[in-house]
């Protein structure tokens, strides 16, 4: 099958193409810049006045695993308020804040997204996370396995295990859970909460006998040594606490210059100045990112309205439970690995704190100079549902729109924020970086996120519109692996994405102490814990693609 897309304006930052009108060919499931020899063109689309980008990639979105099902259960009213009736071959579903799996896949595809990554896969819950993602059609998927609060690793560090042994454990766990990256959430803090500790700072010794800094240093080195493309994905300490920017800066230094990715950094950029003892530290955080090239971040922008927060960070979720809206909250300790906290939340523009949170996120976007290192997320659903991305893009690209919204938020938040004076407006090229090229680059997806020869034909085409939010809400065409799957913002064909994984090499001798640990303490047999690739395909429903690692 050969498809020609002629006359579109390409935004392909991986190849430094910034709005150049270029014809593009889809040959089977791949992109070609030139017409293939000796093959007839099966379909040709004239897309003059259209904007062409690679399929978008959400590198941090909670779309699979037990916490999402808890959130769905707790948000019944929202589920019913947003029904998706079965239509022909499309499955039914519901929900806006935490949609059902089929609805999640359709909504992402309709916005031009072709890959999404679940950032908090608990090892013991990995099968369920993958099953939910397997039932999420249209998009490719992947997961980051949670480490850094598991008793096995904490004991290793506390007992002075070698870095090599830690590396072997990390690699073994990635293989066993079929994940593409490693995430640490409030290092040591979830574990400490099980001992009734309610706060843990970066250099404080936790009940496990180690500091969060040590956990970060060891894990960022393991990820680096193993050559895992995605740097250690870090949900830093003290989420949501006024003054937490200092521990965020400490977290950055804990990587000792090795690459780390700080996620939903908006929630970690708070100062204590002013009458309310709550202020923006976006400037300090942005400056630190600008000055440390080893650091990437995604923002976790909040949007005003109802949502639900779902996080592994039981310690800080418990801290925040008093703000639950509606008044209900769930906390779980999980299997000597981690935990989860699920709390509904309503961000209000007339609340000083919420309004300032909104401004802080935008301040970070605007003050981080390099769009390759600040990615567009709302930490779905924690800051807002993923369907708010087009609105967020408009806030970034249109200063007058941004200032209009700013003028309606809590007056003291307006005064305290520097946002009104910030002139920067993101360009389409920069949006293409932060939603396509950059996530593909930091995940190691070499054939995604760009429009070069040989790339997977994941392509999103927007009709140029004055209203950028409308434009990004409804692409006129989306191709997934070369198939036209969305037309005029509606899914027209269902496809099944694959699961991206890495499998760094490791010394199998780590299985001996692991087996003993499972025999002595765990409630699942060692041999049943690992998810094999054929189990992924046969039982879970997620065919895998392995991405290479280059051992350092």
């Amino acid at each position: 099958m050969v498809i020609k897309l002629s006359g579109g304006k390409l935004y392909d930052p991986a190849h430094k193409i910034d709005g150049q009108v270029t014809d593009l060919y889809i040959v089977d499931d791949k992109i070609s810049k030139t017409a293939p020899a000796n093959k007839k063109i099966d379909h040709s689309y004239a897309i003059d006045d259209c904007i062409v980008m690679a399929g978008a990639i959400d590198m941090h979105t909670h779309i699979g695993g037990g916490k999402v099902n808890i959130a769905r259960t707790m948000m019944l009213e929202d589920q019913h308020a947003h029904p998706d009736a079965r239509s022909g071959k499309f499955r039914s579903g519901n929900g806006h804040i935490v949609p059902s799996t089929f609805s999640t896949g359709y909504r992402y595809a309709e916005m031009g997204y072709t890959a999404c990554f679940e950032p908090a896969v608990l090892p013991v819950n990995a099968r369920q996370a993958h099953m939910e993602m397997a039932d999420t059609p249209m998009i490719d998927k992947g997961g980051y396995v949670l480490l850094g609060n598991d008793d096995f690793l904490l004991r290793m560090i506390q007992q002075g295990a070698s870095q090599t042994a830690v590396n072997d454990y990390v690699a073994w766990l990635l293989d066993a859970t079929q994940c593409i990256g490693v995430k640490v959430v409030n290092p040591g803090g979830i574990h400490a909460f099980k001992y009734n500790q309610r706060r843990l700072d970066v250099d404080e010794i936790s009940p496990s006998g180690v500091t969060p800094r040590k956990i970060l240093t060891v894990l960022s080195k393991a990820v680096h040594d193993l050559g895992i493309p995605h740097p250690l994905h870090v949900h830093a300490s003290n989420l949501g606490i006024p003054g937490n920017f200092e521990s965020t800066l400490s977290t950055m230094t804990a990587a000792e210059g090795l690459p780390i990715h700080l996620t939903h950094i908006q929630f970690h950029s708070y100062g204590t100045e002013g009458d309310h003892k709550f202020s923006s530290a976006a400037c300090q955080i942005a400056e630190a990112i600008n000055n440390q090239p080893n650091i990437t971040a995604d923002v976790g922008q909040i949007m005003f309205g109802q949502t639900i927060t779902a996080s592994g960070d039981t310690m800080m979720q418990y801290f925040g439970h008093e703000h639950a809206n509606p008044k209900k909250w769930t906390i779980m300790d999980i299997e000597c690995e981690a935990g989860c906290g699920v709390i509904p939340f309503k961000y209000r523009d007339k609340s000083f704190v919420n309004a300032l949170q909104w401004a802080i996120g935008l301040e970070i976007f605007i003050q981080v100079n390099d769009p390759w290192r600040v990615l567009l997320t709302t930490d779905h659903p924690n800051g807002a549902p993923f369907t708010s991305y087009p609105h967020l893009i408009k806030l970034l690209m249109n200063r007058s729109f941004r200032n209009d919204v700013l003028s309606a938020i809590h007056p003291e938040a307006q005064q305290i924020s520097n946002l009104a004076s910030m002139e920067r407006e993101y360009s389409l090229y920069e949006i293409a970086i932060m939603t396509r090229a950059a996530p593909a680059k930091i995940l190691g997806l070499t054939d995604h996120g760009h429009l070069g020869d040989g790339a997977k034909a994941n392509i999103t085409i927007y009709r140029k519109q004055d209203d950028i939010e409308q434009m990004f809400t409804k692409p006129i065409m989306v191709f997934k692996n070369g198939e036209l799957v969305v037309e005029n913002g509606k899914v027209t064909k269902t496809v099944q994405g694959i699961t991206h994984v890495v499998k760094p090499e490791f010394d199998r001798s780590i299985e001996k102490p692991l087996k003993k640990y499972f025999d002595d303490y765990q409630t699942i047999a060692f041999n049943n814990f690992r998810i094999s690739s054929d189990e992924m395909a046969e039982c879970i429903g997620g065919e895998i693609q392995i991405h290479p690692c280059k051992l350092n």
């Binding site: 037990g66 999402v68 099902n69 808890i70 769905r72 259960t73 707790m74 019944l76 589920q79 019913h80 029904p83 009736a85 079965r86 239509s87 499955r91 039914s92 579903g93 519901n94 935490v98 949609p99 059902s100 799996t101 089929f102 609805s103 608990l122 013991v124 819950n125 099968r127 369920q128 099953m131 939910e132 039932d135 008793d151 909460f193 099980k194 001992y195 009734n196 418990y318 639950a324 008044k327 209900k328 909250w329 769930t330 906390i331 779980m332 300790d333 999980i334 299997e335 000597c336 709390i343 002595d520 303490y521 409630t523 047999a525 041999n527 049943n528 189990e535 046969e538 039982c539 879970i540």
Partner: protein
């Protein structure tokens, strides 16, 4: 042939350390002598040549004939109910898809049991833990109802009295309190469980014990006019909890009085959340012994809502009052029943006079009494599969350990869907 690390799907604990011997079509559990567990595996055994064929109105039929008959019943149906839902993940996935396709209602055989914890989760959230946390972290365990230990046979051995623990002596040698009412018949097996302090309290019900404990937790002692033995035990227990590092409340909603069980589970959650202001305290609601957790998890992620789910409007709707499967049958609100049950030959559909299709366990007792019976293999015996554990977190693999020629339930359901 002997298989190790076999998962047992016959109670919500999903113990996966079993050794099972398979000879031709006979299946025998080798390393666990609990009668409930042994019997469950024996139920899967056949003699050679006993593999049943599908039945249409009690007469042998080919699989295709049975599927055609089932499809015809569903085509004629205006309000089908898909229930049972006692199967592995893939069976439940395909059953939800079938329900959606026919615009029916899907519920679990024990839907009313699922609802108790779900409704509390919907209303106020919960504080929960998982089996390994209890095994390694808990130094104090409070069990509500002696039946918990009977219905989850290896809870005591595997979780409450571990040979080793990640914590300290207190987490290895846990303080275990069992609360129940005085007039409940003594359960002999508890006498063998030496680590348990068994309080049989003067109280009208187990529920009232929970409500009284909440009172003790919430109120200063001075407020009680008279402190009788029961109250004193609860006051002392409260003090023990406050002095412990990690207390786990264990209950099974089925142990509570059915008409007030939801209120009692809410009370459990209130107690835990109240105690959390000072100390660590968590709940471990036990259930899932008929694969309730598996069915509910699949329904929740695929439809966005918990069981029961109705698809009449095309979009999934959860309404536990309108679409309670068992009540729909009683009230004659369903006109065709598809009953799916794969693990146990005794899990018969409720008595009903509406057309009934049973897809499931090859030795189903009801096979001759229903309109269509399609025998299937047993997940974890004849087919690979996955099952969700009681704590809603762990998913365990079910192995294929026998070659039987029986189609899997999910294949049968999928084929049935394609005929509609």
């Amino acid at each position: 042939m002997q298989f190790n690390d076999v998962t047992c799907p016959h109670c919500g604990l999903l113990c996966d350390d079993l050794t099972v011997e398979v000879n031709d079509l006979s299946v025998q559990l080798k390393n666990n002598n609990h009668p409930l567990c042994k019997q469950a595996f024996e139920d899967a055994s056949f003699n050679s040549g006993q593999i049943p064929s599908p039945l249409v109105n009690g007469s042998p039929a080919t699989l295709q004939q049975a599927l055609d008959a089932a499809a015809q019943l569903l085509k004629n149906s205006k309000q089908p109910l898909i229930s049972g839902m006692i199967g592995d993940i893939q069976t439940c996935r395909d059953a939800v898809a079938l329900t959606e396709k026919v615009g029916g209602v899907v519920d679990h055989a024990n839907g009313s049991g699922i609802r108790i914890n779900t409704s509390v989760m919907q209303r106020m959230g919960e504080v929960r833990t998982t089996l390994a946390e209890v095994r390694n972290r808990a130094d104090c365990v409070v069990i509500f109802g002696a039946g918990v230990l009977e219905n989850f046979p290896r809870l005591y051995e595997r979780i409450l009295t571990p040979a080793q623990s990640l914590g300290n002596d207190a987490t290895k040698n846990k303080k275990i309190f069992l609360l129940d009412r005085l007039d409940k018949n003594e359960i002999p097996s508890i006498k063998n469980k030496g680590a348990i302090t068994y309080f049989q309290l003067e109280a009208p019900s187990l529920d009232s014990i929970a409500h009284k404990l909440l009172e003790v937790i919430n109120k200063p002692i001075e407020i009680f006019d008279e402190i009788d033995d029961t109250l004193q035990i609860l006051i002392d227990l409260h003090q023990t909890i406050l002095n412990s590092q990690y207390t786990t409340f264990i209950w099974a909603a089925g142990e509570f009085k059915s008409d007030i069980a939801e209120h009692t589970v809410q009370t459990m959650t209130q107690m835990i959340k109240q105690l959390m202001e000072k100390v660590r305290c968590v709940g471990l609601p036990l259930g899932g012994s008929r694969a309730e957790v598996t069915a509910n998890q699949v329904a929740t992620w695929q439809t966005g809502v918990s069981l029961p789910v109705a698809f009449m409007s095309g979009a999934p709707i959860h309404n536990p009052i309108l679409f309670d499967g068992m009540k729909m049958l009683q009230n004659k609100e369903a006109d065709t029943l598809v009953w799916i049950t794969t693990y146990n030959s005794n899990d018969n559909p409720p008595e009903t006079d509406i057309p009934t299709i049973v897809i499931g366990h090859p030795k189903m007792k009801c096979a001759n009494d229903v309109d269509v019976f399609i025998p299937t293999g047993i997940p974890g015996i004849d087919h690979r599969g996955l099952a969700c554990r009681t704590d809603n977190v762990a998913t365990l693999p079910l192995k294929s350990i026998r070659t039987s020629q029986l189609a899997s339930a999910n294949d049968v359901i999928s084929q049935l869907s394609q005929l509609l």
